[in-house]
Symmetry: C4
Subunit: 177 residues, 4 copies
């Protein structure tokens, strides 16, 4: 029942070049679990998401990144997550431990974007991302991508778009110095 | 009755990456007020704009940036405004007080793009933007985004597109020096 | 009768960000004149082009750049022209007098891209562009944009796309040195 | 019968700016030959591919790059190939002999991207590309473009997208140092 919503947000993520290929994923919390993108599918094409319970085994069709989503829903009050690979944000995360936006929207909505470490798919990254998202709506996993956790997919997409905008402005600023 | 027009221009702004997420807004003057984007909506999806009178309370559904639009319509003769967040223009505005295009369209249509200050949503930025737009069709609010004020939405979109083109060319020029 | 063809090529030019706003134009030679974009219209939206004779007055609906097109059709054997504003190519033209591509397609198809001068809309730029296009399918008007003159609109679009690709590769190469 | 599949993947390649104009091509192995894009057609528009046998003459409608595809299918076990011209990857290949991604997906899926030489359309480049693809799913022909060889077109598109993402992150990283 979420496939239309996932596709709608996925198309926006693709149109803004925040994700490519079959990378990226998203989920929505519901009851004692969450619906997440199926592994190997495209975010911008309607596919029925798969349900993952907050504890116990996850269905093998679930995105390999389900551990991060589960840990975030367990440790925080967020109810929707968008994970993307925006290139400026990923590049910035290779160099900085925390990103301080200079554009006005970044300054208002995410004045300090934390960068955490951990290999994709591991419990380590899941713990680090979830810990950062207790006090933030946005975190970047170093060299990997953004995790935005919010009340809705629309809000999580907004923070993803903003993360890339803020990092792009930081990078482009150099061209005018 | 403006929702189709707003959507048409909004889709062009998105396609050129002049705005992302639910950022940006636009308005059209009519009689003693103006129709402006509803707060929180997407510029590229048809939504009925909301009417804001030139004086008195604004409906709470109006874009939080309505003060800038009101001040511009009060102080100038422009009848349409497009506000966007083009990344090269925003980056340039962090560094320069006035932007001097080197491309031929910029030289012809906006040879001096003023940069003004003020926090988004405040009366200060509204005053500064409006003052600049008395003698210009284009201004950049530092670190925030462009305001193009013209006779029509199409013209305001054109100046927005041009602002980014001129700033992009200025930035890319460095790559060939 | 050319509106569909113009729209088809125009949409490709927009999708590749080779032109924005209502900038750019194109034409096709036919008999003793040519059909060219109407002034002020969008290249990516079907609009009936206007006929301009090779000599005598041009209709006022014709693109203001009609002088360049007329001079090219008078001085060369090309039968289709695409004029666009690709940002890397425009930026490169501000710095270099001739552009030497390093990518294999550029080396094969346009190993020396000439850069000419002249203000948009003048007879000076028309003469300079036409002269360059006697021995080339591609020229860049400094700070203004590309003119690709070929047998068909598809071919002229291809050279426009290639000009930007070659200039982009030249610029990005610096990032890896 | 492959035209729909080719168009579907082609549209994704265009949307991510991995190819422009009528550049790029793709093929799928079947029996003792392969179906490849027709020369001069657009990757993002449905056109019936043409069959090329593994030995003997190729039909003249076949993409001029058929020699590379034939050599890859002869020397390796891959069954689908995507060739594109992603600008960051092409630029990187002009400077480096092997590309070492720093983003997590690049590190996992293509930790060493080989760069090979040879003029487009020649047997030399065909041999070099095929040799590299014996032990890799991805190779960049210097100054020319990527060749991704996999089990399916979707997978080959994924590696193409990843090649550009990894090279883009490498380049953008410099902006934050």
């Amino acid at each position: 029942m979420y496939s239309g919503e996932f596709e709608r947000i996925g198309k926006r993520l693709f149109a803004e070049h925040l994700v490519g290929g079959n990378f990226g994923n998203m989920s929505v919390k519901t009851g004692d679990g969450f619906f997440i993108k199926r592994t190997g599918t495209y975010l911008d094409i309607a596919t029925e998401p798969v349900f993952v319970p907050l504890s116990g085994d996850a269905p093998k069709e679930a995105s390999s990144e389900y551990r991060v989503h589960r840990e975030v829903y367990t440790k925080t009050n967020h109810t929707a997550i968008v994970h993307a690979h925006p290139p400026y944000a990923v590049a910035a995360s290779l160099v900085m431990d925390v990103i301080i936006p200079k554009d006005s929207e970044g300054e208002m909505l995410c004045p300090r974007i934390p960068v955490v470490t951990g290999a994709p798919g591991t419990q380590e990254i899941a713990g680090n991302v979830a810990r950062a998202l207790i006090t933030s709506k946005l975190v970047i996993a170093r060299g990997h991508g953004t995790f935005a956790a919010c009340a809705t997919l629309d809000e999580a997409y907004l923070y993803t778009s903003l993360a890339e905008h803020s990092c792009r402005v930081l990078a482009l600023k150099r061209n005018f110095l």
